[in-house]
Symmetry: C2
Subunit: 396 residues, 2 copies
C-alpha cells in the first residue's frame, strides 16, 4: 500500500491580507500529479483543511473542486480528518455521500474507533479533539463520571484513546494512525510550556512520540514543517505552502509531501518537494544595499513576494522618501516591510505598525520580540495560534 | 410519476430571536412520512433551502441529516434548486457525490439547460438568478454583446431562458419546471410595483404565469403561501412552517406540501396538510379581556407561541404592571408583544420597539404601518425581503 501524506492545507488563508488561494491551487496541482505518478492508494490529509471554521464561499468552491479532482476524476481514495482550524460540523456536510467513492472523512473523536480496513493494513483516523470532547465521549461510553472528569489534559485523554484503539488492533496487520496534534520527541518538551500551562489551552504540547509507539506509522498534521517530526515513524508532512514570513526565514523551509510505502516488513517514507509559484523572499539589509542595482538585480524575480527589513534605518534621512514605493519599483510585491531602527532611534521612538495588516498571532510575536528581543519558539507559536483559534472557533 | 413539492424551508430561520429549528424538524418528519406513504418518485425543494448565505453550523448539520434521511436511508430522489436566500457556491459543496444517489441539485442558471430525463418526463431545474447572471451567461453563449447588455429585467431574462429550455423539449414527454421566483397571475401585477422599480431589484415581480405556459406544470418556491399560486399549473407549495406573525394573521394560513401526479394525459396536484408542533397564535384584545380567565383558559395550549397586541392600551393605568410577565403567566411564550395605544396617547407618544428583537424586514413593515396604517402587500414584502437579501448576499 502506498499513501501520499499531506496536511495543513489551510484553504482560504491570507498572508498580510493577500489571498494564498492561487498559491494553494498551484501546490495542489503538484500534489495531484505526484499522486498520479506514484499511483498511490490514497491521499491522506491530516487536518486543518480549511483555515477557519467558517471558510469563505471562494474557499469552499476551491476545496470542493480539489476533492472532486482527486476522488471523482482520478478515483483516488481520500483519508481526511478535521484539524483545530476546521469546524467539525461544517466539514461533515455531505460526507455520507462521499463515503461511496472511498472519500473517508472523520471529524469526531468516536469515529477514530472504526478503522478503515484493507487486507494488510488498519488505518485509524483520529481528528483533532480537546480534553472536553474526551470527557463527553468517555462519560457516554461507560467510564464512571468521576474518572471521566479527571481527563483534563490532552496527554491523559490521548492515553485513553490510544489504548482503546490498540484493543481494536488486528494482529496480522500494520497499524497506521492519522491525527492532528503537536507531538514532540520524548524529553524535548519546550521548557517554557509546562503541562499545567499546556492543559489550560487544550494540553497540545504534552504529547510525545512514545505515546504513539503501538502504531507502525503515524501521519501528523498541525506543525507546518516536516522538520518538526518527532521520530522516524511519527511524522509531519508539513504544509504545502509557506504561510508566513517566519517560515520563510527558517533554514529548512522546503515544502513537500511524503510518499509512505507500507510493505509486509517495512514502512518507509520518501519526500517529494513542491515548487512554489510565488516564493516568499526575506531580505534584511541596509537601505543603501537594498537600493544598489548590483544587489537587487540578483534577487529572485519580481513575481515573488518580498518581506524586507531595512537595517539601521534612520528615519531622519528619509523623511522625503516613499520607502515602500521605492522598494516596490525594485522588487515588485512587498508583502511585509519592517524597520530595524538605529539603537539611538529605538530608544526614543515607538515602532508603529498598522495593526490591520498583521494577524493577531503576529501581533503577539512582535510584542514578544520587542520585549525579549527573541521570536516565539515553534511551541510557543502553536500555543498562541491555538488560543486565537479557540477564540475564533464556534461554540460547540 | 409522483413528486412531492415543497419549498422555502429556510433552515436556520429565527422568529423574533427564537430558533425555528425544532419546528422545522417537526415539519420535516411529516414531509418525509408523506413521501413514504405516497411512495413518491422524488421530493422537489424549490429553493430557499437555507435561510441565509452563511448558515450556522447547527443549520448545516440539521439539513445534512434531513437530506441523509430522504436520500440515503429512504432512497428517495431529491430535486432541489437554490433560492435567493441560498449561497449557490456554498450549497454546491459535495453535490457531485450526491448525484450518484439521485440527489439532483442545481445552483447555476446554465444547469437549467440539462433537464433530468425519465421515459415520460423532462424535469427542468432553474435556480434563482438575476438579470446580471443572465447577461453573463448569454454573453458567454454566443449572444452578441449589445443584445446581452439589454437584459436588464428578470422578465426579459426569463423569456430568453424559457425559449432556450423549450428548444430542448422532447415532443412526447411532459415538461416540468422547478424554479424560485415571484410569479403573478396575468394582469394581476401589484400596481405599486412598476416594471421599472422591479428591474432595479432584480425584476422579481414582473413574471407572470403566461410566460410559463409552455410547461405542463411549474413547481415554484419564493412566496410562502400556496394561496399565492398564479394558476392551476403554476403553483407554490408554500413553506412548511409559519415564519412570522403576519402569516399567522392571514385567513388562509395552513401549511402543507403538494403531491403532484403526472400521468400520460393529466397532471394533478393534491394538498397534504402539515401540523405545527408549536402554533403561532395571534391575539388582539383589550387588557381586561386578555386577563379574563374565561378568555385565556379557552386559548390554545401554553406550548404555543403567542403574538399579542393589547388594544386601547392606556399606559398611565399600568405603570406598576409588568405587562409581559403578567401575560406570560397566562399564555406561556410571548413571541411578540405590541400595544395599540389609545388615540390620545398615540398622538403624544412614540412607540418604542427593541430594534434588536425584530428583523430588518419587520422594521420596514412597522414603519410602513405607522405611516400608512396598512401592512405591506405580499409583493411589497417580497421586494423588501429581496433588498435585504441582496444586501446580505456575498459578493459574487
Amino acid at each position: 500500500m502506498k499513501l501520499l501524506h499531506t496536511a495543513d492545507w489551510h484553504i482560504g488563508r491570507t498572508l498580510n491580507g493577500t489571498s494564498l488561494l492561487d498559491e494553494q491551487k498551484y501546490a495542489f496541482n503538484q500534489i495531484l500529479q505526484i499522486a498520479k505518478d506514484e499511483q498511490v492508494d490514497g491521499i491522506v490529509i491530516a487536518g486543518d483543511i480549511y483555515d477557519r471554521a467558517v471558510p469563505s464561499a471562494e474557499a469552499v468552491t476551491a476545496l470542493n473542486e480539489m476533492f472532486q479532482q482527486i476522488n471523482l476524476e482520478n478515483k483516488i481514495p481520500i483519508y481526511a480528518i478535521s484539524g483545530n482550524h476546521d469546524s467539525a460540523q461544517r466539514l461533515n456536510y455531505g460526507r455520507d455521500w462521499m463515503e461511496f467513492t472511498n472519500f473517508h472523512l472523520n471529524t469526531l473523536l468516536e469515529e477514530a474507533f472504526t478503522p478503515i480496513e484493507t487486507d494488510d493494513v488498519q488505518i485509524f483516523m483520529l481528528p483533532f479533539f480537546d480534553p472536553l470532547d474526551a470527557r463527553v465521549y468517555y462519560g457516554h461510553h461507560g467510564m464512571d463520571e468521576e474518572e471521566a472528569q479527571q481527563i483534563t489534559s490532552i496527554g491523559t485523554a490521548m492515553n485513553y484513546v490510544i489504548s482503546d484503539m490498540v484493543k481494536l488492533f488486528a494482529p496480522n496487520k500494520k497499524h497506521l494512525l492519522i491525527t492532528h496534534f503537536a507531538v514532540t520527541a520524548d524529553g524535548q518538551d519546550d521548557p517554557n510550556l509546562t503541562s499545567e500551562t499546556a492543559s489550560k489551552v487544550g494540553g497540545l504540547a504534552t504529547l510525545t512520540a512514545s505515546q504513539f509507539s503501538d502504531f507502525d506509522y503515524v501521519m501528523l498534521g498541525h506543525i507546518h514543517t516536516r522538520f518538526a517530526s518527532p521520530s522516524e515513524t511519527v511524522r509531519y508532512s508539513g504544509s504545502p505552502v509557506k504561510f508566513n514570513v517566519k517560515e520563510a526565514r527558517l533554514k529548512n523551509k522546503g515544502k513537500g509531501v511524503d510518499i509512505v510505502t507500507i510493505n509486509d516488513s517495512t514502512i518507509s517514507h520518501e519526500y517529494r518537494a513542491l515548487t512554489p509559484q510565488t516564493d516568499l523572499v526575506v531580505l534584511e539589509e541596509d537601505w543603501d544595499t537594498l537600493c544598489d542595482p548590483d544587489f537587487y538585480q540578483n534577487q529572485p524575480a519580481k513575481k515573488d513576494w518580498f518581506a524586507i527589513t531595512i537595517k539601521n534605518f534612520e528615519r531622519s534621512e528619509h523623511v522625503q522618501t516613499n520607502v515602500r514605493a521605492e522598494l516596490q519599483k525594485r522588487y515588485g510585491t512587498i508583502i511585509e516591510l519592517d524597520y530595524q531602527l538605529d539603537q539611538a532611534e529605538l530608544e526614543t521612538q515607538n515602532i508603529t505598525t498598522n495593526i490591520n495588516e498583521v494577524s493577531p498571532e503576529e501581533t503577539v510575536n512582535q510584542f514578544f520580540h520587542s520585549i525579549t528581543g527573541k521570536d516565539l519558539s515553534p511551541q510557543q507559536n502553536t500555543l498562541v495560534e491555538n488560543i486565537f483559534n479557540e477564540v475564533e472557533r464556534e461554540h460547540k
